[in-house]
């Protein structure tokens, strides 16, 4: 079956089994390997992508569900001004450890900063609670998102979406 969708800002179409997981299509057919498989049941957020501007776990999405939709992965996000600002903040706080869960965190924090960039710790915790990280204890991840909120408040970013 032919599925048409936007992927990281470009129109694409793929002829494939409509029940394949979005995760597998992104990794295998598009070689977008920032999308990681960890739990495979929607618990950990390592495979998070934006679908129509909402973070979803791509292991629970069948490719047919994205027909006509808009998918953005960490690869796409890290090319945007806001994505770069967030990646800078993660880098400056030395938040990353093993890094396997981080593309997922980048996706969720991008969504948070794009919608309600509030520095409040509880709000950040809630927004990121669908992403599991086993290395960092989340402290520096929260620090990084707060830093990104401050940076965003200090500068006018070009909010063009991809």
């Amino acid at each position: 079956m032919i599925i048409n969708f936007h992927l990281n800002g470009k129109v694409t179409s793929i002829d494939t089994d409509p029940m394949r997981r979005l995760l597998d299509v992104l990794r295998e057919d598009y070689k977008l390997t920032s999308v990681k498989e960890s739990c495979g049941e929607g618990e950990c957020g390592a495979c998070a992508v934006l679908l129509n501007n909402v973070p979803v776990t791509s292991c629970l999405i069948n490719i047919i569900q994205v027909d006509g939709g808009n998918v953005i992965t960490a690869e796409g996000i890290s090319e945007t001004p806001l994505g770069k600002l967030i990646a800078d903040s993660y880098e400056e706080t030395n938040a990353v450890q093993c890094g396997f869960c981080f593309p997922g965190f980048l996706v969720t924090s991008y969504h948070y900063l794009n919608n309600d960039p509030d520095i409040d710790e509880d709000k950040i915790k809630w927004a990121l609670s669908g992403n599991i990280c086993r290395c960092t204890g989340y402290r520096k991840i929260i620090d990084a998102v707060q830093l990104a909120c401050r940076k965003l408040a200090d500068q006018e970013l070009d909010h063009e979406s991809i």
């Binding site: 390997t33 920032s34 960890s38 938040a95 599991i132 290395c135």
Partner: protein, 717 residues
């Protein structure tokens, strides 16, 4: 103490860093493991499904092994693949490979195995209670112990503590890629692992003399390990190599999360019984007897080493003048338990710290007083006879009391709990962790490191220690950068590869910075002396002809470090790291639920190289320990096997307390071990805080609402 940015930061944040499953080769087959789904018994028959063409599959089993069917371990008792006998669920029967992963998985799930089942030991408590399940050699430490009866006035207190399995839950599941080069008759392994030289030995063992050479390299990124990628990769690499050898094609195995949870190594469940004799008036502990038991699982593998560290840490940060400690392994029919951050010490510290609070409750002293009276001080002896030469534990202790305002809070919470339905509690603990291998381990290991200075004054570091998230490759580079005064971006650790890197030992035991980093620093200092020059870059520029040049150095033990493996007397660890911690909890009596609010940590890890990376280790270790303390459990009575993160409950951002971390003596000469100590102390701190909140003594982990409910109802009967 400079927090330089991590070298691997950007690539990992943006997803450019390649982890094992991101590797793909031409003609590559997907491999997987077929394993037993009973706990104990014998395989009677295996039948393949009819609707598949068997010729499409590469299948290996025990009878295909050209070398030895034994995974090399401290005790080599586990086969790569079963020869018929099943001792645990998850025992590997076959490795199978096919070009298409979906076909492979359908084929494997359609294979029918008939078993003759036997009665298995699965219940941890039953296994640890009953001496008939003991296996392997027991270990003893006897310190100034005699059989005299203790005076009547000493308060005699007995406790038994149980702790449960814990899954490492690295976010990246286990995986391995094997390539067989027919022309040169060599095997190359790429994988997610902590110990490339262990994996090399394992592949050589299974392949025997059939291949000329085995080379093992780690993948670019290793998605967390925590001990879980210390020994299971040996088995996985062996089988993947055999598949690639038989298929003459590259084979990649990546475990599903469910299988990773079901069949890989876990933290050892423990049963620790402590009997102590305390002077009820002075609060001084006069003598203790400790019976320390671990459930090793179906095979011993590296469990004796965990047991050894456990019994050497079970006295905790206390001066126990007379003591007798015995350590035993028990055998159950669960997958072999293995390495996990702390390596026997978290169980030990949980028991002793809980026991100290139990004594305080029994004799009417406060938890603070018990610690002030019995804390290990300078010139005190540990049970191994090792004399304490520094007062750093005391300094951590005093500092944590100060920054947490412990004394006032303890009183405030006593009052608060009288006036409110919801409760508060504060817990106080001490901890230590010995850096590097236990006893004579480092002496035997003789780690070797190598450095290459290039013509453009780049420095390449060759060590076998992997970057699995802990920041080792940035920190090691920083140690060399500081000594040689060459910019950090020009100093890099190469990806460990057993063909290129010397054996600087496994990435375990909080030893990477402490042992390997110190060696590199020493080597860098030697290079400066040899070249008679402080500006190395300038020297290289003026003497281009002699570069690139390689330098090597091997570990030299301190000649005064003597340890007797039989009596366990002597210097068990050349350097201990020390910590003191205070935890504040809220307790909701309606939901029987603990919420950790704040956690103060003061640690002596010696010199701090990169403050951010060091903080990250503490934050992460504490959080992992809180998971062990409160929610994480693999085998739950009356509940099916844990198959995923839906029923193995890991801490999320919502469970993260406010954390305050201070390091003391950060400018010391030696950078001591850090990776494991944050795992050792938070669980008993939470448990002790819960005593203040509820008045109930609970001696088992995890502190789930179910357990708390049960204990509170039991005690009110």
């Amino acid at each position: 103490m400079k927090s330089k940015p991590r070298k691997d930061g950007r690539a990992k944040i943006t997803g450019k860093c390649r982890f094992l499953d991101d590797y793909s080769l031409e003609d590559m087959l997907h491999g997987y493991l077929l394993y037993a789904t009973i706990d104990k018994g014998k395989i009677i028959n295996i039948s393949y499904p009819q609707d598949f063409d068997l010729n499409e599959f590469t299948i290996v089993q025990a009878s295909d092994i050209p070398g030895q069917n034994i995974v090399p371990e401290p005790v080599s008792d586990q086969p790569f693949m079963t020869e018929g006998e099943v001792l645990h669920f998850g025992q590997v029967i076959m490795g199978i490979a096919h070009p298409d992963l979906k076909t492979l998985m359908s084929f494997i799930s359609a294979i029918k195995i008939e078993y003759e089942e036997k009665k298995a030991v699965i219940d941890v408590q039953n296994c640890l209670d009953d001496k008939i399940y003991q296996f392997g050699e027991c270990m003893h430490i006897s310190h100034k112990h005699n059989d005299e009866k203790y005076p009547e006035h000493l308060k005699h207190i007995e406790d038994v503590f149980y702790t449960q399995h814990q899954e490492q839950a690295y976010l990246e599941p286990q995986g391995m890629l094997a390539e067989y080069d027919l022309n040169n008759n060599t095997i190359k392994i790429t994988g997610t692992m902590q110990c490339p030289f262990f994996v090399e030995e394992a592949v050589k063992t299974i392949m025997g003399n059939t291949v000329e050479k085995v080379i093992v390299e780690t993948s670019e990124g290793i998605g967390g390990a925590f001990g879980g990628k210390e020994d299971f990769p040996n088995l996985l690499a062996g089988i993947t190599a055999l598949l690639a050898y038989k298929a003459h094609k590259p084979v990649k195995i990546k475990l599903d999360r469910a299988d990773d949870l079901l069949i890989t190594t876990k933290r050892h469940p423990s049963r620790i019984a402590i009997v102590s004799y305390t002077d009820a008036i002075t609060g001084e502990i006069e003598a203790v007897n400790i019976d320390y038991r671990l459930d090793a699982g179906a095979y011993q593998t590296l469990s004796p080493v965990v047991l050894h560290r456990g019994i050497l840490h079970v006295s905790g940060g206390y001066d126990l003048p007379r003591c007798e400690i015995s350590g035993f392994l028990h055998q159950s029919n669960t997958p072999p338990n293995g390495a996990f951050r702390g390596f026997g010490a978290p169980q030990a510290i949980f028991a002793i710290e809980s026991h100290i609070d139990n004594i305080s409750k029994a004799i009417g002293k406060t938890p603070l007083e018990m610690r002030q009276i019995n804390i290990l001080r300078i010139n005190d002896e540990m049970p191994s006879g090792q004399v304490i030469k520094e007062d750093n534990l005391n300094e951590c202790f005093e500092r944590v009391l100060e920054i947490s305002d412990y004394t006032n809070k303890y009183k405030q919470f006593e009052q608060y709990n009288k006036e409110h339905k919801d409760k508060k509690g504060i817990g106080l603990v001490l901890a230590m962790h010995g850096g590097g291998y236990t006893g004579n381990g480092e002496k035997i290991l003789k780690s070797k490191v190598k450095m290459r200075l290039d013509q453009n004054a780049d420095v390449q570091i060759y060590v076998a220690n992997v970057e699995m998230g802990q920041g080792a490759h940035t920190t090691l580079s920083q140690m060399v950068n500081e000594e040689l005064n060459i910019p950090l971006e020009k100093v890099n650790v190469q990806i460990p590869n057993t063909g290129k890197t010397p054996n600087s030992g496994p990435t375990v035991a909080s030893r990477t910075i402490y042992i390997v980093g110190s060696l590199l620093q020493k080597l860098a200092a030697q290079i400066k002396t040899e070249l008679k020059c402080d500006d190395i870059a300038d020297y290289i520029h003026n003497n281009q002809k002699v570069f690139p040049r390689e330098y090597e150095l091997s570990f030299q033990p301190d000649p005064n470090d003597d340890f007797d493996d039989k009596t366990n007397q002597g210097i068990a660890y050349h350097d201990f790291s020390w910590a003191a911690c205070v935890v504040e909890i809220d307790y909701d009596p309606l939901q029987y639920k603990v919420k950790v609010k704040k956690c103060w940590n003061v640690l002596d890890i010696g010199r701090v190289i990169n403050n951010d990376i060091a903080l990250g280790q503490v934050y992460g270790g504490v959080t992992q320990a809180l998971g062990w303390a409160l929610t994480e459990n693999i085998y739950k009575k009356g509940y099916p096997r844990t198959r995923g993160f839906t029923d193995y409950t890991l801490p999320t951002t919502e469970d993260t307390p406010e954390m305050m971390v201070e390091f003391i003596h950060t400018e010391s000469a030696v950078a001591k071990g850090l990776g494991e100590i944050p795992m050792n102390y938070p669980a008993p701190a939470v448990r002790n805080a819960l005593i203040q909140a509820t008045g109930i003594i609970i001696n088992d982990l995890p502190l789930t609402p179910e357990r708390i409910y049960h204990e509170i109802n039991r005690s009110s009967l």
